[in-house]
């Protein structure tokens, strides 16, 4: 027998020594920090999750008044206010995934000094890691409130986990200050543009500044109440001043173009045929097309779209006709929502009863909508609905785009100094996108009216992009809007071919209570801390 008979070398893993000795392997490690681990069931289909929830079967929008997820998958209990530390539904991943991501970044930050690479590139990577770490904190802060700040520490298995100091949650202000400081550093270290050794998909200066602007907007908002609107406006202004970004003409193409061309997207994630996400067309498509009617828009959102004359449907002069509710609406309604009668893939959508192919009278009726609507945004008509497995799932997920920055600016500036011209200009840029063409906001709005207009603008412009959930909370209006029943529409085709519309409750039991302004911290985490970690109010 050989002397080293028991000493074997694995052939499918490498050690940290190997990672740190080879700058290419080290960079490969850093690249994967854009993704995070899969923690809960039914996430990370195709590829690992990134930040937030993004393209999963039940999207984050289905935890709000934007949509409901037909197959539940842990979204209904959030709609119904039943989320609990032991029952987190589809919201159970942020805590664990964020802290794992932070540790992974910290390990790289603590060791990068020993990696051989050019100083310039090293600076970029340090900036990138700090940006990624701050993004993880954003996921923690906007879901749970004040986070436990771990700094640069890399925890090891042998650490003493009974030390109460480990479980002290920082205040909201301290948490945001920390993340913002990290983003300031990142913005200094990251390149302004993608290209060359810093290809598209890696964070840039603009991404860091835009994330900072978002966090400061949150900080100034009523729920957070720990920052100033002026600082938030200034941070958004800094992004605008980069003069790198602009509103792209085509609203619907923005969410489909997998190359992320144009200059509206500030930070997003690409997918490819071999690294796809959930196949959106089949998972959200109508049953009459063999889709599964996943995230189906609610009437609550449909009602938020103005008429194309710029007036709300509640305005008696808007021309809204309840018998023809889908005529002459804001074009973003047509880009976002599939409604009865909409032309889709060569025919009109039949969400009506009796007999509509996309209703419960259609085929595979367990896959029909409960709301009367289907999701249109993100749908790529070039993808097949049936058998999409080798072509679909390649839309980019946009984390931050310029329209959000403009609306962040408008909101902060309006709150800080009232509806000045820059506020109008920012909102109107968004409204007057070439393919949207909504009339500009009427002049002479009061600060309160402007606030309402911006909120509505965010609701429709950013629908399904994971803003609504956090917006209604930070504005502290969730106890109203999320306590409004989740409405759908029963559409009946009459003998003469006309349609009747009857409002119905699409998901029974929608409810929101004060504790739901924040998510509960997972129960196992509280138990692991021996109850030293402060649970959010109302979930104890």
């Amino acid at each position: 027998c050989k002397k080293n008979f028991l000493d074997l070398t694995p052939t499918t893993t490498i050690s940290d020594v190997a990672i740190l000795q080879d700058s290419a392997l080290f960079e490969d490690y850093v690249i994967n920090r854009y993704m995070g681990i899969k923690i809960i069931d039914k996430e990370g289909e195709g590829t690992l999750p990134g930040f937030g929830r993004a393209f999963e079967y039940s999207m984050w929008s289905s935890n709000t008044d934007e949509s409901i997820y037909n197959n539940d998958d842990g979204s209904w209990l959030i709609q119904r206010g039943q989320i609990a530390p032991e029952n987190l539904g589809n919201a159970g991943a942020f805590w664990g995934r964020s802290y794992r991501g932070i540790r992974d970044c910290n390990w790289a930050l603590n060791n990068i000094a020993s990696v051989t690479m050019s100083d310039g590139h090293k600076k970029n990577i340090i900036g990138e890691l700090k940006f990624l770490r701050a993004f993880r904190y954003q996921d923690l802060i906007r879901n749970y409130g004040g986070a436990v700040l771990v700094g640069d520490r890399v925890y090891e298995l042998k650490d003493n986990y009974s030390d109460p100091a480990l479980f002290t949650r920082a205040s909201l202000k301290a948490s945001i200050d920390y993340a913002v400081a990290q983003l300031d550093t990142a913005a200094q270290l990251l390149p302004r543009d993608n290209g060359g050794s810093w290809p598209l998909g890696r964070a840039t200066k603009g991404a860091a500044l835009a994330l900072k602007a978002r966090l400061l907007l949150y900080a100034a908002s009523p729920l957070y109440n720990c920052g100033t609107w002026a600082a938030a406006a200034k941070a958004a202004q800094d992004v605008i001043d980069l003069k790198k970004y602009a509103i792209q003409d085509n609203y619907s193409a923005l969410f489909i173009d997998q190359t992320m061309a144009g200059n509206e997207i500030i930070f997003g994630r690409q997918y490819t045929i071999t690294a796809p996400h959930v196949r959106m067309e089949i998972s959200n498509g109508p049953n009459g097309y063999d889709g599964w009617a996943g995230n189906t828009p609610l009437q609550n959102l449909v009602d938020a779209y103005q008429m194309d004359d710029g007036k709300d449907i509640t305005d008696a002069t808007s021309g809204y006709d309840a018998a023809k509710p889908y005529e002459n609406r804001d074009k973003r309604f047509y880009y976002t929502i599939l409604y009865n009668g909409a032309s889709y893939r060569g025919r009109a959508l039949e969400a009506y009863i009796p007999g509509g192919r996309d209703s419960k009278d259609g085929p595979s009726n367990w896959n029909t909508t409960k709301t009367g609507y289907y999701l249109r945004k993100f749908m790529n008509d070039a993808n097949p609905i049936q058998n999409p497995w080798s072509s679909a799932g390649q839309q980019p997920w946009i984390y931050i785009r310029y329209a959000e920055v403009l609306l962040n600016y408008a909101e902060a500036q309006n709150e800080a100094s009232g509806p000045d011209e820059t506020v109008y200009d920012a909102v109107n840029q968004v409204r007057q996108r070439a393919s949207v063409g909504q009339p500009p906001l009427p002049s002479g709005l009061s600060q309160t009216q402007m606030r309402g207009a911006i909120r509505k603008e965010r609701q429709v412009e950013l629908a399904f992009e994971e803003h609504r959930f956090y917006d209604v909370r930070r504005w502290k209006i969730a106890d109203v809007v999320e306590n409004t029943p989740a409405y759908g529409m029963i559409i009946t085709k009459n003998a003469n071919g006309s349609f009747s519309y009857e409002r119905k409750v699409a998901l029974e039991g929608k409810a929101f209570s004060a504790k739901n302004y924040w998510l509960p911290i997972p129960r196992p985490e509280i138990l692991a801390s021996d109850n030293k970690l402060q649970q959010n109010e109302g979930y104890q």
């Binding site: 027998c1 206010g81 598209l200 138990l527």
Partner: protein, 997 residues
């Protein structure tokens, strides 16, 4: 001097071959042939001596009769002289100091279940065998020795013909090739050191015996059917349930939101089978009975210097599905040859091989049964015109089971070769050198070809049938193919010393063993096949995105130093010491070696002079053993930080390489240790009764477990990267009790019975738990594998109950379960969950076997049972699936306010009465007693047979899982699926024929 002839039979009536018949005082000796016949020249007044291993020798005087039939007694003395296989040797049962159960291959063969692991239940005390599924090819039992003793791996080490962990294992061995099986339950397994903590099963295959060739042919034809299938709701009931669910969602819209009364009536009366079918899916998809056949042939014999046992077997098991492709075929051979090269040198070559051919449809059994139990009875499998429907969610179980969606062919080849040698060293009597070298090879192949197919949607308005293309990708076929090759080399060398000095006997050895295991896997995938007729990788699409491949390998090595000294004085006082030093590549430098010693002793009280034998107690032995055993069954390379390639992130439109941390280092990782104490009493009394009582105690320490609960996630260390650490402690105590009776009533008749009972209860002493865990939820102090559930204490029947009982949601309803407010804080939350008393591993298992023979008829009956065991099953019911009738017929509803099951809900898995608040309502007492095995045989004795060279013909009928008594209503109580969706266990009725030439 004319030849004396006769037949030798055992006291159980079996014809005995290979019995030495000699004339006392002379050199004349012959052996009985395969039918027990002998013929020896002897004269009146001679005395014939009959000897055979395992039987009391007998002398009979020749009185002039030409025919002397002899019955050899294997009841008492034979039992004591019986030799039992132990680790690296054999031992007389009488001098055994450890707890070793042994069972003969002939006994195991009586079970018509082709998987050997299914033959243990009820037969062997201390062995807990649970048959979890009946799918051909995967229908074995999970085996535990004396229950659960660790939170880590509980796998038993299987040693076949001296090869520890032989590739191919126990399950698929041909039962006809097995001579006997020993189960080492206590510290007597310490000689297997680091792998012995969960017990050891030693399998010995048949060897040839000198004498004329004996040819045996066996044919078995079996008829299999599920032990039980759930009864499901019919279309009318299910349609009514759907109405109820819709009503619960919007009560203002009434009770007929989905189906009108007229429509419900149509489901009931079947007047419109196209639009209102009533489908009993299990009836439609499953056969009443499937076939299983088995052919076995063996030849055994040899001369003085060469002995051989050769066998071949063929098994064909059909699946339960109508038009299904599931089947299992097995072809096996064995050639065991022993040769004396010289007076001192013996060698043996044992070669065996088999092909396990598994064929499955595209969907696994779990999926098929999931769809089968969920499929709506309101949907037909086929339209009246014959086209298949979309079933449930585009899964039509009637199609899923066929080859229409493609097949999954999975043949595995196993080869095992063992070369053994023994050399008696000249000069020192009793000293011998023995060695072994074994080669195991296996190659598993998988070819999974998925082809597109159509399911049809009927549009009632237009009367048209629209095809849905399913299967494959982009309406084209796909192929996944993989190959896993394994090999293992084990070699050992031992120096044995076995000698008796007057009343002192010593049996000892020292040895060295090493082994090397390696596994390689490779797989490839293609899609976009232009035609289905070319299911080969070379014939798929050619674009880069059409192909993918994968592969990997791993190795582990072990080296060990081992030895044993056994001493006995007059078979009265026995003592034994054994030890093994084991080295394993699983652990890091400095932690690779472990030491595993054991001591044992026995006192055979009945051999004391003062003990009066024969009165009541014929034999009495007290024994005890204590030792330290190990368990190293954990993932490899946990002693350093592991980083693995995981490329998924897209930059500039292409996937770039990415690395992730996949495991944190635990440089100190080492063996799990089991300290086992065993005290036993063996007795024979009233000549025909035997009794064994064993008390056992096991303390498992340094259990290899992950600190998943106490390491907070905010450390960034989540469970996926936590390595195994030596942290847990579990005690496992219990007893085994066996009582048997065996008596020959006369030459023609005998009876026997035996009952055994094992009680094994684990207690967690130390387990990684979150420090904040409430006392009543802690696992520490409780048995392993318990459930954490809400206590279901009733049902909300009136709206008044809403204020009487706390409830978990703000909107309770009538028909909701009432959960116990364990903390009495006025609300139901996670703190109210309580640990259950039992898990799904039984604490009590028992068996009862009885049998007898009368003339040519023999009968064996085996009952097996379990108790103190629970299984949680929540069916996947709601709008997403059908209901068990037990729920559907007894559900609470506005029209059935007295229902015993909760109101129906959209999805049981998320319902407040189901998965959202898992409760004891869905926990079943999985105790059962079942008639596990019966065999009735008839041996044809007819002189005509010998004319056609047949010496013996036996026909028999046998059965497996014939009936079960249990409180579980809907599924087989041996199942372990939490959703009840599994391929059901099989009831087997078998007819067999045995011919001996």
């Amino acid at each position: 001097q004319s030849p004396v002839k006769g037949t030798v039979t055992s006291s159980r009536g079996e014809r005995l071959a290979g019995v030495t018949v000699s004339v006392v005082g002379k050199t004349t000796a012959v052996m009985t042939d395969g039918t027990g016949h002998y013929a020896i020249p002897a004269a009146k007044g001679d005395r014939l001596q009959f000897t055979s291993i395992g039987f009391a020798a007998r002398e009979v005087a020749v009185l002039g009769d030409e025919n002397i039939d002899v019955v050899l007694d294997n009841e008492l003395v034979a039992a004591m002289n019986e030799v039992v296989v132990i680790g690296y040797g054999t031992q007389k049962k009488a001098t055994l100091t450890g707890s070793v159960s042994s069972v003969k291959g002939d006994e195991l063969k009586k079970s018509p279940q082709p998987d050997v692991s299914n033959s243990f239940a009820g037969r062997v005390s201390g062995v807990i065998a649970n048959n979890r599924s009946g799918e051909p090819g995967y229908d074995g039992s999970s085996i535990l020795i004396r229950g659960l003793a660790t939170t880590g791996n509980n796998d038993v080490l299987v040693v076949v013909d001296g090869v520890p962990g032989q590739i191919g294992g126990l399950s698929r061995l041909n039962p006809n090739d097995i001579e006997d099986i020993s189960v080492l339950k206590d510290a007597s397994a310490a000689v297997y050191g680091s792998r012995a903590a969960n017990g050891v099963i030693l399998v010995t295959t048949k060897k040839g015996k000198s004498g004329k060739p004996q040819i045996s042919y066996n044919f078995n034809q079996a008829f299999t059917s599920p032990t039980r299938l759930p009864k499901l709701a019919d279309a009318f009931t299910y349609a009514t349930i759907q109405n109820e669910i819709a009503y619960y969602n919007s009560q203002d819209k009434g009770m007929n939101q989905i189906y009108s009364e007229e429509q419900l009536q149509k489901f009931k009366d079947g007047s419109d089978p196209l639009n209102y079918p009533n489908t009993n899916w299990p009836d439609l998809v499953l056969k009443k009975m499937a076939l299983q056949s088995k052919h076995d042939i063996s030849v055994s014999g040899g001369g003085e210097n060469v002995k051989y046992f050769l066998s071949a077997g063929y098994l064909n098991q059909d699946g339960l599905y109508k038009n299904g492709v599931t089947r299992y075929k097995q072809y096996s051979f064995r050639s065991n040859v022993d040769a004396n090269i010289s007076k001192r040198l013996k060698v043996g070559l044992l070669l065996s091989g088999r092909q396990e051919d598994r064929m499955f449809p595209q969907s696994g059994a779990g999926d098929i049964f999931r769809f089968l139990y969920r499929a709506y009875p309101t949907v037909a499998a086929y339209y009246p015109n014959g086209l298949p429907t979309t079933g449930i969610e585009n899964g039509n179980p009637a199609i899923m089971v066929t080859d229409i969606p493609g097949t999954n062919y999975n043949p595995t080849l196993v080869f095992n070769g063992v070369l053994k040698g023994a050399y008696e060293i000249p000069g020192v009597k009793g000293l011998a050198l023995e060695g072994m070298f074994s080669v195991d090879k296996s190659s598993g192949f998988d070819k999974n070809f998925a082809t597109p197919y159509n399911l049809y949607q009927y549009n009632a308005a237009t009367g048209t049938y629209t095809p849905n293309v399913l299967g494959g990708i982009d309406k084209q076929a796909t192929l996944y193919q993989s190959q896993t090759n394994q090999y293992q080399y084990v070699s050992n060398i031992r120096l044995n010393f076995d000698r008796r000095f007057d009343k002192h006997s010593i049996n000892a050895f020292v040895g060295y063993e090493q082994s090397n295991y390696h596994s390689d896997n490779f797989s490839a995938y293609r899609k976009h096949f232009p035609t289905y007729t070319t299911p080969e990788l070379s014939q798929g699409g050619t674009a880069d995105a059409d192909k993918s491949s994968d592969g990997g390998s791993y190795t582990y090595t072990r080296k060990s130093y081992l030895g044993r000294v056994a001493y006995n004085y007059s078979e009265k006082y026995m003592a034994e010491v054994q030890a093994r030093v084991d080295g394993s590549s699983t652990f890091g430098p400095g932690h690779q070696y472990g030491f595993f010693p054991a001591v044992s002793a026995a006192w055979r009280i009945s051999n004391e002079d003062w003990f009066h034998k024969g009165a009541v107690i014929n034999d009495l032995k007290l024994r005890a053993s204590y030792g330290i055993l190990g368990n190293d069954n954990v993932g490899l390379f946990q002693y350093f930080n592991n980083y693995s390639l995981n490329s998924q992130y897209v930059i500039n439109g292409v996937i770039v390489p990415g690395y992730d941390l996949t495991l944190l280092a635990n440089p100190d990782i080492t063996w799990e240790k089991a300290k086992k104490l065993d005290i036993g009493l063996n007795a024979v009394f009233l000549k025909h009764f035997n009794l064994e009582f064993i008390y056992f105690q096991q303390k498992r320490t340094d259990i290899l477990a992950q600190r998943n609960a106490s390491v907070p996630q905010l450390s960034g260390i989540n469970s996926a990267i936590i390595p195994a650490e030596n942290i847990g402690k579990v005690d496992n105590n219990g007893f085994e009790f066996t009582l048997g009776y065996n008596k020959r009533l006369d030459q023609d008749a005998g009876i026997y019975f035996s009952g055994n009972l094992t009680y094994a209860k684990s207690k967690i002493v130390d387990i990684d738990e979150a420090p904040g865990t409430p006392e009543w939820q802690k696992q520490t102090g409780r048995p392993l594998n318990t459930y954490l559930l809400y206590n279901s204490i009733g049902m909300m029947r009136t709206t008044d109950d809403f204020s009487t009982y706390p409830h978990p949601t703000t909107t309770p309803r009538q028909g909701d379960l009432v959960y116990q407010d364990y903390t009495k804080d006025g609300k139901i939350d996670a703190n109210d969950m309580v640990r259950t008393k039992y898990g799904n591993i039984p604490q009590v298992t028992y068996g009862f076997t009885a049998g007898g023979d009368y003339k040519n008829i023999d009968l064996t009956i085996l009952f097996a049972g379990q108790a103190r065991v629970s299984q949680y099953v929540l069916p996947e019911s709601g709008t997403i699936g059908n209901f068990y009738s037990s729920w559907a017929d007894n559900r609470w509803s506005p029209s059935n306010p007295g229902g015993s099951y909760p109101r129906v809900d959209e999805r049981a898995s998320n319902s407040v009465n189901g998965g959202a608040y898992p409760s004891t309502f869905w926990l079943n007492d999985a105790s059962f007693i079942r008639l596990k095995n019966v065999e009735l045989g008839y041996t044809i004795v007819n002189p005509l047979l010998t004319r056609i060279k047949l010496s013996n013909v036996r026909v028999y009928a046998s059965g497996f899982n014939l009936f079960t008594i249990t409180k579980v209503k809907d599924y087989d109580p041996e199942g372990s699926s939490g959703s009840g969706q599994f391929y059901p266990q099989q009831r087997i009725i078998n007819l067999g024929l045995n011919l001996r030439f």
